[in-house]
């Protein structure tokens, strides 16, 4: 099956997620996109099964005295879509840099 054609914003968000930015706020900051674009786009990507979301373990968050966050991971289909999007938008790789761990 061919990977779905993504809009530039969706491709940018998927690229950011595949580079290790897994929280909505991080994606917003690194892409420079407004939250009104990022969060609904994350929902759409999740609906299309290009990303999946999980809650970080409650115990881990409590240990750091902060609420647990929802983080997003790119699925196998999402990786294929991100690759296709990078070929379609060659400048995408330059817009988002890899996350320093």
């Amino acid at each position: 099956m061919n990977p779905p054609r993504l809009s530039h914003s969706a491709a940018l968000i998927l690229k950011a997620l595949s580079l290790g930015y897994c929280f909505g706020l991080d994606v917003m900051e690194i892409t420079g996109l407004p939250s009104g674009t990022v969060y609904p786009a994350l929902r759409r990507l999740e609906r299309d099964r290009l990303v999946e979301s999980r809650w970080e373990p409650e115990a881990e968050a409590a240990l750091k005295q902060r609420p647990a966050r929802r983080y997003y991971e790119v699925t196998r289909a999402g990786k294929a879509a991100a690759l296709a999007a990078t070929q379609r938008y060659p400048l995408l790789a330059r817009l988002v840099s890899e996350k320093r761990s």
């Binding site: 407004p34 809650w55 005295q65």
Partner: protein
Amino acid sequence: MSRPLPLPRFDRRLLRAVARLVPAQEREDWSRTWQAELWHLHHRSRTRPTHFRRLHALSVMTDLSIGLTLDALWLRTDLWRRTYSGSAGLCLASLSGLCLLSVLIALLFTDGGHALSPHLRGQIARSLVAAALVVFVSFATASRLPVDRNAATQGLYWIRRQAFFAAKMAQVLLLAFFLSLLVFLFSIDACATIHVPARNVADVFQLFSFVFFALVGLRWVFRDQEQRCKQCLHLLNTPARVGRPSHNLLEWNGTELNCKQGHGLLSVPEIETSWCQSSQWINLDANWDKAAPI
């Protein structure tokens, strides 16, 4: 182990207000997501230099307020999309909308309908006669309706199906009439520019266009009716080819369409054969309801 600091009062009020937009089954998850995002936003701004902190927090907070509202709206519209997409109600509402739009365009072209009213009675009479003929021809030439021998889809379901079919047909004929009125108006203008007796030519155009639109529309009505669930009247989806076309004379081959609510499936044969002359509706057991969304 200490608990994380609570959110500022404004944030909590905003979350409570916007949460009403979110569908009930997703509200808790949505609130939890946004509470965490807002908490992290405030936490991050605390770690920045003081002169930068307030300005940055304010701009990001404004952006996030818009974001959480749009996120809630997206969830709401997605629920509507999932609920009403392909439903009978949406079909009738769309047809009504198209009728209204064509009436508005006609009124716009005739300065409130004054130019149209002298001709309207004759057009309605001609179109009614033509409509009766078109309906007769459409029924006579329509492909066979699906065979449905299940008791579960008889009775009230049958009445609902026929009522929807009749309403759809009436709306399509009405839409065909309004569209033919637009053709009438355009042809009057066109005839005036080339000095042809406008009235007679425009009347003929109106009648022909009505017959054309009505025939095409009724053809669609039959096709649409066939491809709907016999219980919930939603459009059937996920068409799947079954069998091999090269084995036409040896085994059944055709397409199967499913109801997304899991009520049943429609088997449409590729060609009409003596053992399978028309499509068949098969009711599924209630246990399939759970498997349908997968």
